[in-house]
Symmetry: C2
Subunit: 409 residues, 2 copies
């Protein structure tokens, strides 16, 4: 069956959404650092948040506003996470929401708020309130690229994905953008993603579709195994497409979920490709595990091993390091059954070196993209994680941040 | 009370032990790569092994020989882990034990065997068997330094620690040496340690003392969070000091345990200082946790966070990254109670920035050694982990190994 989901070459916002990005001065050098994304119509929304016990002020505020059930817009700043700023941080997050809402003609409770950047530095909220009117005035259907740029931190490129699919007699659009780069780990990261759709989707179905799509995308990536205080995925559906109501389990729901999952997976993979210092995009596929849970443990252990990631950086088909990570993952493993493949070439078979010539193995990991497959040969459990290498560039980038910021240099 | 344990400035083997190290050709360039450590008298021995599900052949053989209860010597090679070499690896480990035992006039079952180095490359056992006679002839009471050098891989320096303590009317000596560098994680790593003592210690007491000492030393260190296939700690006691029998729980047992723990902790800390690419030695101390288990989770999350370790590399007092790792550790955390100190200066107090001037915080992390304290202010649980930073040097060192080795360059 042909894939009913069509990815658009030129991403665009769905009908009834507008976006903007401006330079508020939180970042130096007139860089875009404040964005808004809004719906002209009421929305049904769903979100997932970081599972970090330390949560940024905007995360806690947005959790409450989401529960209110009447979101119309999100305001996002980069350059400052507004995390670990105490009661003042909570006040600042609310002030950010209030000024953005007022500028956009909305109520505070209709505004979702996100921040990303350094932890533990007070948010210069006066820059946000000063820029809010300009931001609201700049909102336009073609404004997504500015919004996507305004939410970036150490990301090198903006990430926007649009898909179309037929749902309930109409073609609906699902469009998302995201930022990532560091602190990327399964179970959410310094990761923000905003997905809009003009599909009409009931609340329960949207929440379930969001959970499923996040589980198969943002929760299957890892750059450095660190999980941030600010991770948020927001999905807003405004119904502007006028499709017939989606019934849970029906064809419309399947089509919508397919598009939502496709958009999120594409965004998640782009986050990994643009990870801090990343020079490789590695798909770690585990199969033959005793359970899916065991497969996930193994995939995450391999994807997060510093030694394994260094070997990828050097284009070294070092299956010994892979199997050592397999061994400590906490999964059921019988070492003389483990196969490890680079691309479709065996590096190890039955826990010992395979007879593939080293030159061929090297060629299999020489490119920017490759797959490492671990087959435990024990059962039917499987899991896939998308990850990157560990480079000197990652270390150099992350050596010095806080003191520079505090000292204003 | 004065510490009854005296660390010796000039480490030496206890009475009745001899050691040697030779160049067998496993490593290129006539580097020492094969060592033996033996007792002239029967020993009582105890050991702990890697918990990695993938275990090297020598680990599995040594587990059996330890159970036999009559160890007299250990033979160790570096440059090759003899891990993941299948049935041939098992045969090679046995051949290594057999040739070393024959050369030393012992039975195979009296020989403990360890290997450390690259995984998945066949052990050139013929080099071991050829060098075994020379190795046995070289055994002497002053041979520990050669042995300690012969077991190194990426370590820069040999690590030997000797302590003396009064036990049962005699002064006994406890002397250990160890190697580490990469794949260092709590719960054992590419880590080998050999401890000898001339104390007479009953088997049960030696096993219990070894478990306790390992728990407080080698299981409290982390370089990169990777756990190897070959980790082994062996303790051999030959009774040559002629002390009165040690009774469990008695003064002699306490004194012996104190010396054994001191030697292992000192060795463990030296492993961290000599970790691959390490430029910092960081003590991560967690207190005020709801339980010791929670404290351990938090200490390990902080010590293993790539982002935190990069900040240490840059001498950046980035408490925001520390608290983000605290938050995802899986422990009970109330973010507005968390204090983070660099040395004795507060970086954060009650989950928000403290008023310590940034210049003072920078000075606190500028040196090679510093302590990061996390106080959760929830209860009486505590744990300490010794760790290092993550440097560009670590990445550069670990980029390329397998292909070079296989291609013989």
């Amino acid at each position: 069956m042909a894939d009913p989901v069509e990815l658009l070459r030129s991403p665009k916002l769905p009908t009834g959404f507008r976006a903007a990005g401006v330079a508020s001065g939180i970042k130096s050098g007139a860089k875009l650092d404040l964005g808004m994304l809004s719906s002209d119509l009421p929305t049904c929304s769903a979100a997932t948040f970081t599972t970090n016990r330390v949560k940024a002020s905007p995360v806690r505020l947005s959790m409450r506003h989401l529960k209110g059930g009447d979101l119309r817009a999100v305001v996002v700043n980069s350059g400052n996470a507004n995390a670990c700023n105490g009661p003042q941080g909570d006040l600042d997050a609310r002030e950010m929401a209030a000024s953005a809402a007022a500028a956009a003609g909305l109520e505070v409770r209709q505004m979702f708020v996100c921040s990303t950047g350094i932890i533990g530095v007070p948010l210069p909220v006066e820059k946000v309130t000063a820029a809010a009117p300009d931001l609201a005035r700049a909102l336009r259907p073609s404004g997504l690229r500015d919004f996507a740029k305004a939410i970036l931190t150490s990301d090198k490129v903006a990430k926007i994905v649009s898909a179309r699919v037929g749902v309930g007699g109409k073609t609906v659009t699902v469009t998302g953008c995201a930022k990532g780069a560091g602190m990327i780990s399964p179970n959410m990261a310094t990761m923000l993603a905003f997905v809009t759709t003009d599909a009409a989707v009931p609340g329960d179905e949207l929440a379930a579709a969001t959970r499923a799509a996040v589980a198969g995308s943002f929760n299957c990536i890892s750059v450095d195994g660190d999980m941030s205080t600010n991770d948020t995925v927001l999905v807003m559906a405004n119904g502007a497409a006028g499709n017939r109501p989606i019934k849970p389990g029906g064809a419309g729901a399947r089509a919508f979920r397919s598009a939502l999952s496709r958009v999120m997976l594409e965004l998640a993979q782009r986050l990994v490709r643009d990870g801090e210092g990343a020079s490789k995009f590695v798909t770690v596929r585990v199969r033959g595990a005793g359970s899916d849970r065991d497969a996930r443990r193994v995939a995450e252990a391999v994807a997060n091993s510093a030694l394994v990631k260094c070997s990828w950086n050097g284009s070294d088909p070092n299956w010994g390091r892979v199997i050592h990570a397999v061994g400590y993952a906490g999964a059921r493993v019988e070492q003389d059954k483990v196969d490890i493949l680079f691309g479709d070439l065996y590096g190890a078979r039955g826990g010992v070196v395979a007879d593939t010539p080293i030159g061929e193995l090297k060629a299999a990991v020489a490119g920017r993209d490759f797959t490492v497959t671990v087959d435990l040969n024990l059962g039917g459990g499987g899991h896939t994680v998308y990850t990157s290498d560990l480079s000197e560039g990652y270390v150099a980038y992350n050596r010095l941040e806080y003191a520079l910021k505090i000292q204003g240099r």
